[in-house]
C-alpha cells in the first residue's frame, strides 16, 4: 500500500517493510536484518550492479524476475525472495567463477563461503594467486569520481582484458594523492605510501577524513548543495527568513531578489568541477562563471572566467539594490582583479547610496554620479575610480568610518544619523546578514575581534528562529563557545565549511543544544589534530587553545587603543529600525514587540514615537547581553580581559601585565 505516496510497503522473504520511494532494495532487506551477499556494493558509493552477487527474485504485478538488489530502486509494491532456489543457484555459479579467478583474496573467499562455495572448478590461465589482487569491483573508480570528483581512474579493456588504469596507462598528474581509492579498496590492491607532511598517525586522519568525503558524496545534494552552487545556496534562504540585507541593511528581503536567486546563479556557474580553492577538497564549493564578457573598465569586451559568486558578494548586490546577476559577476571580477574586498566595498557603497538619497552628499561630491540604490553603472564607475585612485573613489576607498568623519567635519552632516546607518564596527564594514532580530548575532558581530565579520559567531538561527538561547545566560554561553570554536579553525589553518555545511545523517539524534555543535564533525576535527600532532584533543583543551589566542588578540586591540566596550557598540541599524520607513515595513513585528516585550500599547502613537521607544528597549537589551557575554568570557564590564582570566589561561606574562596596567 502506498502511504502519502512517499512510502511504499513491500514484502521481503515474507516480512513486511515500509520504505521510502526510490530507496534501494538492498537497504530495505538490511533494515529487516536479511543478509544478502555483496561484492561491488559500497555503502557510500553509487551502486553499479556489476558483480551480480546480490541477485534477488522480485515479483511485480504477478511477474517474477531477477534483479540486483543494490541498485534496484523500490517504486511500487513488490514481493521479494532473497533466497529462492533460482537465486541461490545463480549466486553459487558466480561465486565459483570469482573464486576460480582470485582464489586467495580474503573478501572473495568470504563471499563465496556465504554462497556455500569453498572450492572452484574454474581455475584457468586467468587465475591470479595474489591475495591482494584487484577484483574489478570499481570502488576506487567511484570514490575518485564521487568523493573528490577527480575521475582519474577507470576501467579499460573488455571481457577478460578488463583492467583498472589511469588515462593512457600512465600515472595521471591530476591524481591528488587523496588516498580515497585505496581507502575503499576491499583487497589492498592499491597501496598508500605515506610520508607527506609527516603526520604522526596518517591512518587516523584518513579514517575521519573519509567520513566527510563520504558525506559529501551522499548527502550534499540533499543538504546545502555546496558542490552545485557553493555558498550562494543560502541567497534564497536568507531572502525567505528576512535576513538578506537590502538597501544598506534596511530590510531583509526584496521582491527583485528573484533575479539574483540561488536558482539563477546555479544556471550560470560551471558545475561539478573539482575545487579551485583547495585542490583535493571534497566539498568543492568554489565556483566559476566561464566566458563572461566584461562591459566596463580596463578589460571591457574581454571574455573572462569569474570566480564565484559567493553568497556574500551576491548579497552585497542586494545591499546596493542592484538585483542583476550580470552586475554581480562584473562587480565580483573587478573586486577580485583590483584586490578589493567585495564585502567592504559593497557595504560601504550601500552606505554611500543611502547618504546620497538622504541628501547628505550630492552629485557635486560624487563626481557627477547619481549614486542611488540600484545604480549599477555608477557603482562600477566608482569601483574603477577606487582602483585608479581618482575622484570620489579615493574617499570611498577609505571606508565608512573615514567617510562619516569627513562628511561631519566638512559637509556639516548629522553625526547621529551617519552613526546609525553606517554599517561598521571597529572600522570594518558589516558582512551580509541582517541581525536586527537576533540579539546574540548583534553582540557576536560587534564583539568580534576584527570587526563585524560572522566568522566568529553566526547565531541567527539558534536565536531568532529556533528560540534556543532565550536567556542572556544562554546567549552568553553561545557567545563563548562558538567564537572560540570558530577561532580554532583559524589557528589550525583549517576551513570551517566542512564542519557545518554538510552534516552527518545521524545529527538529528542529538537534542538541539548539542546538535548545533555538530558533534560528529567536532570529533572529526579533533582526530585530525591528534593524527597530525599525536596529542589527543577534547572540547576543554580546544577551548583553552583558542581562548589563549582570542584573549591575546583582544588585549592587542586594547593596547592599540581599542578593545573596550565603546568599540563593541554597533550602529543602531544593526539592532533595530532607524527610520520610520523601516519600522513601517515590518510594523506588525515591531508593534508586537512593543506590546509583548516592552509592555507599551502602540495604538495612537506616531511611528517616530514607536521607533524611539523600541530603540530604548533594544539598546538596553543589547547592553545586558554584552554584560552577560563579558562575564562569561572573563572580561570586565569595559570588555578587557581580567588579570585572573589571563592567569587562568597562562598568558599573564610580565610584559602583558605591564602593558595592561599602563592603560588602566
Amino acid at each position: 500500500m502506498a502511504t502519502a505516496d512517499k512510502k511504499i510497503t513491500i514484502t521481503i522473504d515474507g516480512k513486511t517493510a515500509t520504505v521510502v520511494r526510490d530507496s534501494y532494495l538492498l537497504q530495505a532487506a538490511q533494515g529487516l536484518g536479511i543478509d544478502i551477499p555483496t561484492l561491488c556494493h559500497h555503502r557510500d558509493l553509487t551502486p553499479t550492479g556489476n558483480c551480480r552477487l546480490c541477485l534477488c527474485e522480485v515479483e511485480v504485478r504477478g511477474k517474477k524476475r531477477l534483479v540486483t538488489a543494490c541498485n534496484y530502486p523500490v517504486r511500487e509494491e513488490i514481493r521479494v525472495e532473497t533466497r529462492s532456489p533460482r537465486v541461490l543457484q545463480h549466486r553459487k555459479i558466480l561465486s565459483e567463477m570469482y573464486l576460480g579467478r582470485w582464489p586467495n583474496v580474503p573478501v572473495i573467499k568470504e563471499v563465496a563461503a556465504k554462497c556455500g562455495v569453498t572450492s572452484s572448478r574454474f581455475a584457468s590461465e586467468l587465475t591470479d594467486p595474489n591475495p591482494k589482487a584487484c577484483i574489478l569491483c570499481g570502488h576506487c573508480v567511484r570514490a575518485c569520481a564521487e568523493f573528490v570528483q577527480e575521475e582519474v581512474l577507470d576501467f579499460a579493456g573488455r571481457g577478460i582484458k578488463r583492467h583498472l588504469t589511469m588515462p593512457y596507462g600512465r600515472v595521471d598528474k591530476r591524481c591528488i594523492g587523496c588516498t580515497s581509492c585505496a581507502y575503499v579498496c576491499p583487497t589492498g590492491a592499491i597501496e598508500v605510501v605515506d610520508g607527506l607532511n609527516g603526520p604522526v598517525d596518517a591512518k587516523l586522519i584518513r579514517d575521519y577524513g573519509m567520513r566527510i568525503n563520504a558525506e559529501m558524496a551522499t548527502l550534499d545534494k540533499f543538504q546545502c548543495a555546496m558542490r552545485d552552487v557553493g555558498t550562494a545556496n543560502i541567497v534564497q534562504v536568507m531572502q525567505a527568513y528576512d535576513l538578506l540585507p537590502t538597501h544598506n541593511h534596511k530590510f531583509g528581503a526584496h521582491p527583485d531578489e528573484i533575479h539574483i536567486d540561488t536558482s539563477q546563479i546555479k544556471k550560470r556557474v560551471t558545475q561539478g568541477m573539482p575545487d579551485g580553492c583547495w585542490k583535493g577538497c571534497s566539498m568543492a564549493c568554489a565556483k566559476v562563471v566561464d566566458n563572461f564578457v566584461l562591459k566596463t573598465g580596463p578589460y571591457q569586451g574581454q571574455h573572462v572566467a569569474v570566480d564565484g559568486p559567493e553568497y556574500e558578494t551576491t548579497a552585497c548586490a542586494a545591499n546596493m539594490g542592484c538585483f542583476d546577476l550580470e552586475f554581480v559577476f562584473e562587480f565580483n571580477f573587478y573586486c577580485d582583479t583590483y584586490g578589493i574586498d567585495t564585502i567592504s566595498a559593497g557595504t560601504c557603497i550601500s552606505f554611500v547610496m543611502e547618504a546620497f538619497e538622504n541628501g547628505v552628499i550630492d552629485k557635486s561630491h560624487t563626481g557627477g554620479k547619481e549614486l542611488r540604490f540600484g545604480a549599477k553603472r555608477e557603482v562600477l564607475e566608482l569601483l574603477h575610480e577606487m582602483a585608479r585612485g581618482e575622484g570620489f573613489g579615493v574617499d570611498v576607498g577609505q571606508g565608512i568610518r573615514w567617510l562619516k568623519e569627513k562628511w561631519v567635519r566638512e559637509y556639516g552632516a548629522d553625526p547621529a544619523f551617519l552613526n546609525d546607518i553606517g554599517m561598521e564596527v571597529k572600522g570594518l564594514e558589516f558582512s551580509e546578514y541582517v541581525c536586527k532580530e537576533s540579539l546574540a548575532q548583534q553582540v557576536g558581530y560587534s564583539m568580534a575581534v576584527k570587526g563585524p565579520q560572522h566568522d566568529e559567531a553566526w547565531l541567527i538561527f539558534m536565536d531568532m528562529v529556533n528560540n534556543q538561547i532565550p536567556s542572556f545566560e544562554d546567549k552568553a554561553n553561545a557567545l563563548y563557545y562558538f567564537p572560540l570554536w570558530r577561532t580554532w579553525f583559524g589557528l589550525m589553518g583549517l576551513c570551517k565549511l566542512p564542519w557545518n555545511d554538510v552534516v552527518p545523517a545521524d545529527n538529528k539524534k542529538y537534542p538541539p543544544p548539542v546538535a548545533a555543535k555538530v558533534p560528529g564533525h567536532v570529533e572529526d576535527f579533533f582526530k585530525f589534530f591528534e593524527g597530525m600532532t599525536g596529542i589527543p584533543l577534547d572540547e576543554e583543551k580546544m577551548l583553552q587553545q583558542s581562548a589563549r589566542v582570542h584573549n591575546l588578540q583582544r588585549l592587542m586591540c586594547y593596547l592599540l587603543g581599542g578593545g573596550t566596550r565603546q568599540d563593541d557598540m554597533p550602529p543602531y541599524r544593526a539592532v533595530g529600525p532607524v527610520t520610520a520607513e523601516e519600522y513601517e515595513s515590518r510594523v506588525e513585528r515591531y508593534d508586537k514587540q512593543l506590546r509583548e516585550s516592552v509592555g507599551v500599547d502602540p495604538a495612537g502613537k506616531s511611528t517616530e514615537q514607536k521607533v524611539a521607544i523600541l530603540r530604548k528597549y533594544r539598546l538596553d537589551q543589547y547592553n545586558k547581553a554584552v554584560d552577560a557575554a563579558y562575564d562569561r568570557r572573563g572580561w570586565d564590564r569595559n570588555g578587557v580581559p581580567t588579570a585572573e582570566r589571563l592567569k587562568e589561561l597562562g598568558i599573564d606574562l610580565p610584559q602583558v601585565m605591564a602593558l595592561l596596567r599602563s592603560r588602566q
Binding site: 534562504v237 546578514y433 553566526w458 528560540n467 534556543q468 552534516v503 538541539p512 548545533a516
Partner: protein, 66 residues
Amino acid sequence: MVLVNNRDRVDWQPGMTVQDLLDKMGYSYVLITVTVDDALVAKEDYASFPVPDGAAVTVFHLAHGG
C-alpha cells in the same frame, strides 16, 4: 493552537500536517529537525504526520553558511 519553538503561536486547522505547519511558518530551510510533542518526525513523513491541536512543535534549524 500550536506552539512552535516555545514561542510562536499558530492557529490549528483540522487535518494539519507537519508540512502544512512548515509552509505556514515559511520554514523552507533544508537542515531542519522537527519534533511534535517530543516525537522526532522523519522528513519523508512531513506531508503525512498529523499535528494535533495544542501540540508543542520544535523546528530546529541547524546553522550552516556563515
